[in-house]
Symmetry: none
Subunit: 153 residues, 2 copies
DNA sequence: TGTAATTTGACCATCTTTGACTAATGGTTT
DNA sequence: AAACCATTAGTCAAAGATGGTCAAATTACA
């Protein structure tokens, strides 16, 4: 954990604990970690994303705040279907796939090992094909993984 | 130990000791040995290979790292390795992959769900690419799955 | 002496950190 | 109210910090 961003991420997650949400103050957090306030935004933008299962709300001015909430995926299949139909288009980068896999784990739809097997199957190295259709193939393949998840349970 | 590469190799191995992985910083190591950073990559590429029982992961940017893991030698891994090196060549048909997956389940190395996820990832439909590179891609991808099985857990 | 292995360096890709400038909100003062 | 001010948060681009790739130059060795 050599960089501040990761520490901040861990701190926020720890603070949230088992709760559904947590309120933070951007400036206080920045001061606590001796970093630029905008770094808090960076952490929020790169780590507390929808793909990873979080939504954010905030307000500026006196008494301002940033509220981070966990997305509850109550209707699993509707959620997976949303991923298949909307979030994933015709192409899917490796990086984005990892984000989605992380979220599937967070939602309890997969465990680490399962995720790693899919990751190994569809990594950049695995899909070492002569053309630049990697992302297209990955998109199609990963949709099949999600589809399988819907019926496997 | 006439050349630097060998020293670097020994240093990394010594640092790893009995652990099953080690984190290194490319730049620090290069500085320590007064060599070009890319020489670290050279050492990694020529000595810490899969054939020699290592797998690598890395991240760039602040707090970046290179993680080298040791594939533990066990009967299981010897068996998986056999599959990688012998049974699977440059091409792997869907049918044959299913056979191997079934065997992995029978041997207790995977469960049904895990198998199905891999199957979904590398099915004929998923690998919808022009012409006959399907089996080549599947071979490479599936080898990565087996590799992952070796270091997972 | 010719081939393979090693060493270097220029250039690239990715992730993080910082800071200047902007926008919104609530309270205070006219 | 309207104007003003203090207090927050947001955006974005530049700089910094790593690791990756590739090929030319050099060295080792059979």
């Amino acid at each position: 954990m050599a960089n501040i961003s990761e520490s901040i991420e861990q701190f926020i997650i720890a603070t949230m604990g088992d709760n559904d949400f947590v309120d933070i103050s951007r400036n206080s957090l920045a001061e606590y970690f001796s970093c630029a306030p905008s770094q808090i935004n960076y952490v929020l933008d790169t780590r507390f994303t929808v793909d990873r299962g979080f939504v954010k709300e905030s307000r500026r001015g006196g008494g301002g705040f940033i509220k981070i909430s966990r997305i509850k995926s109550s209707d699993t299949n509707a959620y997976l279907n949303g991923l298949v139909l909307e979030s994933i288009g015709d192409e899917l980068s490796y990086k984005r796939m990892i984000q989605i896999l992380d979220k599937l784990i967070a939602d309890g739809l997969m465990n680490k090992k399962e995720s790693e097997l899919v990751e190994a199957s569809l990594s950049e190295d695995s899909l070492s094909m002569p053309f630049t259709i990697k992302d297209k193939v990955r998109a199609k393949a990963f949709k099949n993984v999600l589809l399988k998840l819907m019926i496997t349970k």
